[in-house]
């Protein structure tokens, strides 16, 4: 595989500059923060509310930003120019994803702090969120690849947002509509389950299951996004 740290860094720096000047996209970092402030003093199930904020933020920030970064590069023909330099497709994808990962991680951490969420197992929470960011970045890549314009990309994220954030709530109707059972396997539902399980101090085995399912999602979607990326960009 042809990747170079220097070139990845070049893409990272460039995307950072573009991101920080593109207010329509960078404003997304305010959503998780606003939600955290809004719900911080809410009474009720802390783990469930916190899981909702995280799930919403992952789609609205991570997937959205990644999709926009990829789609814009296509729309403006800059990807074509990059492909003529020593930069490889992977350099570009990794550089972008690294930026989105870091932004997401920082914003989610800050929101967690603002919300005042306390966990018994910081390592586990960090791992679950970290893997989730990878997963939602891959979703963003896929959305970006299927969109021709920035606008299309931002719209394409909404179905993801709705299914993934509403999924855990729809599970409440599982008894009436058994087919909703499948929603249990959404990574967002699993994150929710994990947080609740951590709260009640569940056994290690019970904690491992959601983490494994989220990881499977992350691996599969990342592979799909790489394959699609290579394929979609080749024949343009």
């Amino acid at each position: 595989m042809n990747v170079s740290l220097k070139r990845i860094q070049a893409i990272f720096i460039k995307d950072y500059k573009e991101f920080s000047r593109n207010y329509a996209v960078s404003i997304m970092i305010l959503f998780p923060i606003a939600f955290a402030l809004l719900y911080r003093s809410e009474a009720g199930d802390q783990a469930a509310i916190y899981a909702f904020i995280m799930n919403f933020s992952l789609a609205m920030l991570t997937s959205f930003v990644q999709a926009c970064l990829i789609a814009e590069e296509k729309e403006r023909n800059t990807l074509r120019s990059l492909m003529m330099t020593p930069a490889s497709m992977l350099d570009v994808l990794i550089g972008k994803s690294a930026l989105v990962f870091l932004i997401s991680a920082a914003v989610l951490a800050f929101s967690t702090y603002l919300f005042g969420y306390e966990t018994s197992n910081v390592m586990l929470l960090t791992a679950a969120l970290g893997i989730s960011i990878v997963l939602y970045t891959a979703i963003g890549t896929i959305c970006g690849l299927y969109s021709k314009t920035l606008l299309e990309a931002s719209l394409s994220v909404f179905p993801v947002l709705i299914i993934f954030t509403a999924g855990p709530f729809a599970l409440a109707f599982e008894e009436q509509y058994p087919f909703l059972e499948v929603l249990r396997y959404l990574p967002s539902s699993q994150l929710s389950e994990l947080l609740v399980a951590m709260e009640v101090g569940a056994a290690a085995g019970e904690l491992a299951r959601p983490l494994v399912i989220i990881s499977i999602w992350a691996v599969v979607l990342t592979i799909i996004s790489f394959i699609l990326y290579k394929k979609r960009l080749m024949d343009q």
């Binding site: 042809n2 220097k6 070139r7 860094q9 070049a10 893409i11 720096i13 460039k14 500059k17 573009e18 000047r21 593109n22 403006r76 023909n77 800059t78 990807l79 074509r80 120019s81 990059l82 492909m83 003529m84 330099t85 020593p86 930069a87 490889s88």
Partner: protein
């Protein structure tokens, strides 16, 4: 040694044949101009040579490698390319755009200053790309294509949006690059550019090469064999080259009646129109 060698290249997009059967060679160190009406296949050929498109037939070698290899990292360092749809980062300044390329090619910071001077944009280096004029944009994309001083440079209509002063400045720069060893393959609709800059040109029409050679040679081949004599009386005589004409000329000459005398050559533009049967686009 050839920088580019193309043998019987064909390219069809479905039933639309863009290149029928194109063969030519460009020796290392040459500035070669590719002329042809709009839609004749110039950009298509350029894309094939840089591995952005696959030919449907024939063989093309670039720097002694099959053209399909041009997307390999090691090869990509060796050439530079400017096309009409090369994109720039709108929210970055000229300087920041060039910095992306500088880093990707792993060059020192000074390369940005050099290339900015080359395209005459040093004073505007801090300007964001989204406020630039068309000609300035074109010069920034050109700068991105040459920042690494490639062995081979592909330019698709490099000066189409430029004023004469900047065109002349870019030509000077291209000649300088060429002297330092860069082979240049350019397409253009500007016959003066072709004539002043290119050592050889090819005229493409409907996917086939109709003429190839040095501009002067093409003019020789296509001259109509007549001579115009302008007399001091203001009369103009158009003569074919034969004995009668020679006698007539001798007569005028002995009486000191000849003001000017020249062979009737076609300009490159005339040849272009003659061969492609269409007006310049």
């Amino acid at each position: 040694m050839n920088a580019i060698s193309v043998q019987n290249i064909q390219k069809a997009f479905g039933s639309n044949v863009a290149l029928k059967d194109v063969s030519f060679e460009i020796p290392k160190g040459e500035i070669f101009g590719f002329l042809g009406p709009s839609g004749s296949g110039k950009t298509t050929l350029l894309k094939i040579l840089t591995a952005q498109l696959e030919a449907t037939g024939g063989h093309a070698a670039v720097m002694e490698m099959p053209s399909g290899m041009m997307q390999k990292t090691a090869q990509k360092r060796r050439f530079g390319i400017l096309t009409d749809n090369s994109g720039l980062y709108e929210r970055l300044s000229i300087e920041e755009n060039l910095d992306v390329f500088r880093r990707l090619y792993d060059l020192p910071k000074s390369s940005i200053d050099q290339v900015l001077h080359f395209v005459n944009l040093n004073a505007d280096r801090k300007k964001r790309v989204n406020v630039l004029s068309k000609g300035m944009r074109q010069r920034v994309t050109l700068a991105c294509a040459i920042i690494h001083e490639p062995e081979l440079l592909f330019l698709d209509e490099p000066t189409s949006a430029l004023d004469p002063v900047n065109t002349a400045h870019i030509h000077k720069g291209l000649r300088y690059l060429n002297e330092r060893g860069t082979t240049i393959f350019l397409t253009t609709h500007d016959m003066t550019e072709a004539e002043t800059l290119c050592e050889r040109v090819a005229i493409l029409h409907k996917g086939e090469i109709r003429a190839i050679g040095a501009p002067d040679e093409l003019k020789k081949v296509h001259r109509d064999g007549t001579l115009t004599v302008e007399l001091t009386s203001g009369e103009k005589e158009r003569l074919s080259m034969n004995e009668d004409s020679a006698a007539a000329i001798a007569g005028w000459m002995s009486r000191g009646q000849i003001d000017r005398m020249y062979t009737n050559e076609l300009s490159l533009g005339d040849i272009f129109i003659k061969l492609t049967g269409s007006e310049l686009v």
